[in-house]
């Protein structure tokens, strides 16, 4: 079982998301993350779906997704051939000014932005590949993460390939 990222180009209309997610539901596959957004073509949207599954499960779903009338294109993106990003917002507990300074320094070293600062917490934003965000969040747990929001991955194929 490994994480696969399936990128879909779909028609932008009501019901497409239900139809797409229904394909996964029917096969008992859990969606790890999902993003939907407009794309470069008018009237079309791009969905990026991260799922855990075996090679053959993912292959079967990919074919079924291609069969959906409103799905224009399906690409199974491989990690080594794509740029994969996730955006994370987290509110970290800072009990005193010393801790706050330490959190801010660590955030800077990861390239995270400081979005807001209060006396007892700071809000950080990091856009990175998911693994790096995992590490950053783990680190911040040390100080106490009050809230964590992640958008889920979006991905684009490198060079001429993908999506």
């Amino acid at each position: 079982m490994q994480t696969h990222i399936v990128s879909l180009l779909v028609e932008d209309r009501p019901g497409v998301l239900t139809r797409m997610s229904g394909m996964f539901t029917m096969r008992g596959i859990n969606i790890t993350s999902l993003t939907v957004s407009p794309c470069e073509k008018k009237g079309l949207s791009r969905m990026t779906v991260a799922i855990k599954g075996t090679e053959s499960e993912v292959e079967k779903v990919r074919k079924q997704l291609s069969n959906l009338i409103e799905v224009v294109k399906v690409v199974d993106l491989r990690a080594d051939e794509a740029i994969i990003c996730d955006l994370c917002l987290l509110k970290v507990h800072t009990k005193d000014s010393e801790v706050r300074l330490e959190v801010m320094q660590l955030a800077q070293s990861y390239g995270a932005k400081i979005m807001d600062a209060a006396l007892d917490s700071v809000i950080l934003e990091l856009t990175e590949e998911p693994m790096k965000i995992d590490r950053f969040v783990d680190l911040m747990q040390h100080f106490g993460v009050k809230q964590l929001f992640r958008t889920g991955v979006t991905a684009i194929g490198r060079g001429a390939g993908g999506g």
Binding site: E11, K60, S66, N67, L68, I69, E70, V71, V72
Partner: protein, 572 residues
Amino acid sequence: MSREKLSGAEIVIEELKDEGVEVAFGIPGGVLLDLYDVIYKQDAIRHILMRHEQCAAHAADGYARVSGRTGVCIATSGPGATNLVTGLANASMDSVPVVALTGQVVTSAIGTNAFQEASTFTITMPVTKHNFLVKRTEDLPKVIHNAFHIASTGRKGVVLVDLPKDVLADVAKVNLHPKETFAGYKPNIKPNKVQTKKTAETLATAERPLILAGGGVISSNATEELRSLAELLGAGVVTTLMGKGAIPEDHPLCLGMAGMHGHVYANRAINECDALLALGTRFSDRLTAWQLDQFAPDATMIHVDIDTAEINKNIQVDIPIVGDVKLALDDILKWLEKHKKLGGKSVWMQRIKEMHSACDECIKDVKRAGTSLSDMFVKELNRILDDDAVITTEVGQCQMFAAHYYMTKRPRRFITSGGLGTMGFGFPAAIGAQVGAPDNKVVDIAGDGSFLMTCQDLATCVENDIPVVVCILDNRYLGMVRQWQELFFDKKYSHTGLGLTPDFVKLAEAFGCYAERVEKPEGLKDVLGNAFKSGKPAVIDLIVGKDDKILPMIPPGGGIMGMIGTERCKHI
């Protein structure tokens, strides 16, 4: 085409006419008054008023299977639409082209739990190839055109169009009969030449080639090509349940239906072949059974299917071909005719001949030892009905008696619920079949349990002069479940006994049908003759034994070589 000012309902009917629709099966309702007002004012499309929406869907399905055209059914919002669902799921599973039109509450009331509101769009999503909820009257021409286009192309299927009341009532200026389709809908029709060449070479050099014909052979109208290829190669042909009629079952190369309730030698041929050309089949578990090491273990597996998603889904294949069966067979035939490099297959042909006659003998022998009344009635039908008669079936023992013993000679003449296994399908499907083939005899081989699920539509038959004949194999049990309880659950007949209700003859007579009871198979011919002569819809109650079993069969968990109940089969 100039822009015309029409109501939504008028647009729907104009587009249906443009698609060549000649009949629709439906039931009106509150939100469909505008549509039915337009139906009232025209006579290009015949509307048959059904007595239950499930039957409307099954009738459209039966009509489509017999005629090869797209069937149309209509139901109102809420319960009308939810009643359709079983019928739509049934047609979807068997890849039958059906367009369903449903009424919906006014757009402003959608999502408010208005009277007779159901979310038809979301409810029917998993049982359709595609569905639409139309929000604007001006979208109707494109939607209706696409509904028919999607239903009848690629892997055929069901498309539902949900029509809110205001969308039907409002007037809009539109261009009728648009041709534009969806960017993402491009069915793979043309087979890859490299793959068809590889297939032809494999079949030419194979010593024991076998063709497995599925429903796709019939839906792509490839029965002539199938026969030519089998004869050219000297290949045996077995069929799936859905493939019955793809080749005449009395053809010397045909070994009949394979699978769980198939012919023992059809299954054996699959086990013995060295090249298996599977055409338009999805390798359902009822065909392959569960011990896959017995399913063509020595064969080069070739799979032709129009749906990419079926390739390597249930069975791993060596040569996949995505495309239309007819086009693929054309390519294979052309290559073989050009290269004329056929290896010696005389030993295999001798074997096929032997296997063919073993089953043929049994089917023709009405009074064979070990034969039950149920077998005998179906065998009798072979002697009475002409090749063009249409058989529909209900589901369960009656279906398998029909599939096993009825010899189908032509395509689109054996109509059965293959994938979903819907009890109550056969009778309304017969109604649709009779409408699609008005000059043919249509006989539903029913069970008493199934028939009672949809028999209210006898009223439809009588009111519309649709003279279908229902032959009930009447054992007063849910026979197939009882058979399993007998064989695998220590004869504990839990809730399979149906008691003595109703008297089917009186029931049918109450509807105004011709009806008679037959207790001996040899009496069937005269009674059936009388039924056809009456010109009325008819119900013939055939009394059969509760212990009748459809055998041989593959027990659950078994493989195609592990059939039980083969005592009556000729051993060769």
